[in-house]
């Protein structure tokens, strides 16, 4: 695409984002402020993730974009098209073939490798924000590693519901130091972040924050000894591939109460379906 720099952003913006990314990697789980730019799509559509991807992306990369696990939703299709046009990179729907995976609210089911980078789109980077609205105060709490408030919140969940009723955006401790929002991925995905071989980068465009989890870093979901963390999953098998160990979406099929459960990760599901068909 003529008239634009490679990967849309200008070079001084990329340098600024790159400096923020490096500090984020050096301080795992700490939110680094950055000068988020106006992008040709609205906040809430992945501007943070797109800016991180644009700063990292090179011509040899193969980009995959997923939205809630799916490669073919509007958001994912648009972002892939954006980088095809502005950077001329190859895109893919295959988790295995990708070198950079930008994601909204899921971690692919297939384990990621050392040579891959996972870029999360983050709407609200501050895990303490709902409990303490003052940014000056939450900053202080992170500085002091004072996370008692979050434990109280989880405790109140247990007192009210008998279990921790947080099913997504489930807070994690990174490298035993910083409390971090994993972005609104289902709690089911949280264990995948722990000791992941791939680098994980998080971009929040509206909130202007970048944070990161380096490879092979401890990421622990907050819990209590007598109420250990339990990843939640719908107790069904995928209607299409039969999987019983993946995260499922509930899909309404008609207006008389018909519903099915299918894998949220469309690439993983179609791979399994292909294997199943080949076996038959």
């Amino acid at each position: 695409m003529s008239g634009y720099n490679f990967a849309y952003l200008d070079e001084s913006t990329k340098r600024m984002i790159r400096r923020a990314i490096l500090k984020a990697v050096a301080i795992p789980g700490h939110q680094v402020p950055f000068g988020s730019r106006e992008m040709p799509l609205p906040y809430g559509w992945g501007t943070g993730g797109i800016q991180v991807t644009a700063a990292v992306l090179g011509p040899a990369d193969v980009l995959k974009v997923i939205d809630q696990g799916s490669d073919d939703t509007t958001n994912a299709v648009s972002i892939r098209a954006f980088f095809r046009r502005t950077a001329g990179v190859a895109t893919t729907e295959s988790t295995e073939a990708a070198t950079i995976i930008q994601t909204r609210h899921r971690i692919p089911e297939r384990p990621l490798r050392e040579d891959q980078i996972l870029v999360y789109q983050v709407p609200i980077p501050e895990p303490l924000g709902r409990l303490e609205p003052r940014i000056a105060e939450t900053r202080r709490m992170h500085a002091m590693a004072d996370y008692g408030l979050m434990h109280v919140k989880l405790y109140e969940d247990i007192a009210r519901h008998g279990h921790i009723a947080t099913s997504y955006s489930y807070p994690v401790m990174v490298n035993s130091r910083y409390l971090m929002s994993p972005s609104p991925i289902p709690a089911f995905d949280n264990p995948k972040m722990d000791q992941m071989p791939a680098l994980q980068l998080f971009g929040a465009g509206r909130e202007k924050r970048i944070y990161a989890v380096p490879p092979y870093t401890s990421v622990k979901s907050l819990d209590f000894d007598d109420h250990p963390f339990r990843p939640i999953r719908a107790p069904h098998a995928c209607e299409l591939c039969g999987s019983r160990d993946t995260y499922l979406d509930e899909v309404l099929t008609d207006d008389v109460g018909g519903r099915i459960f299918v894998c949220s990760d469309t690439d993983f599901c179609s791979e399994r379906q292909a294997v199943k068909e080949a076996a038959e």
């Binding site: 720099n5 490679f6 070079e11 001084s12 990329k14 340098r15 600024m16 790159r18 400096r19 923020a20 990314i21 490096l22 500090k23 984020a24 990697v25 050096a26 301080i27 795992p28 700490h30 680094v32 402020p33 700063a55 990292v56 992306l57 090179g58 011509p59 050392e114 900053r139 202080r140 992170h142 500085a143 002091m144 490298n175 130091r177 910083y178 000791q195 071989p197 680098l199 990161a212 380096p214 490879p215 092979y216 870093t217 401890s218």
Partner: protein, 204 residues
């Protein structure tokens, strides 16, 4: 090379002087490749990465240090540079960074700057901690220092030829300030390896 005032360049630069040494052949894609090398290095401490080739360089800078400067330093970053007048002129032309003393700098390329003297950031803003670009003689994986920490599965071995005396003691003190602290990018020839503040180093 026309360098009108070849005076010893330290942290101050009396007048802008010209340079005939070029930067990246492809400023956009070479900077991207160089950044990816630094990102790899920073997220996998001690792993040696190569930066894109810079054919012609001012004396006083290794290809790796020059590539790191071109990739990360610009008019928005305070730089402390002690690499000779020609390198200073080159940096002024290609990066345009304001030159400051070591303690005030975000990026430091100065063999004599000791880790404890650099800005470690604050508890609330540890990302303000400086980045030290350290020229060393050689970087060899598989032996030497034993590195552990985020980014390393079990342990990683890195031999650093020509590290400044007392570096390991300084590093232990630097790491004790976590999350504050200084991050180091080691440069030797066209090779780099990084030591983020989170990594622990033991003598091998």
């Amino acid at each position: 090379m026309t360098s009108p005032s070849p005076r010893a360049s330290g942290t101050t630069s009396p007048r802008a002087s010209g340079t005939t040494f070029p930067g990246f052949a492809d400023p956009v894609l070479d900077a991207q490749a160089s950044f990816r090398a630094v990102l790899q290095a920073m997220s996998r401490p001690g792993q040696v990465q190569r930066v894109p080739d810079l054919p012609e360089l001012p004396p006083g800078l290794s290809p790796a240090a020059a590539a790191v400067l071109l990739t990360l330093v610009d008019a928005e970053t305070r730089l402390c540079l002690r690499a000779g007048p020609e390198a200073a002129a080159w940096v002024r032309f290609h990066c345009g960074a304001p030159l400051v003393t070591a303690g005030a700098a975000q990026f430091v390329l100065d063999r004599e700057a000791a880790l404890p003297a650099l800005d470690p950031g604050t508890e609330e803003e540890p990302e303000r901690g400086a980045t030290l670009i350290l020229e060393v003689a050689s970087l060899t994986e598989g032996r030497g220092w034993r590195l552990t920490g985020p980014g390393i599965r079990d342990e990683h071995r890195l031999h650093v030829g020509g590290a400044p005396p007392g570096f390991l003691a300084d590093w232990t003190a630097n790491r004790a300030r976590t999350p504050c602290g200084v991050d180091v990018i080691l440069c030797a020839g066209d090779a780099i390896a990084a030591l983020p503040r989170s990594v622990a180093i033991e003598e091998g």
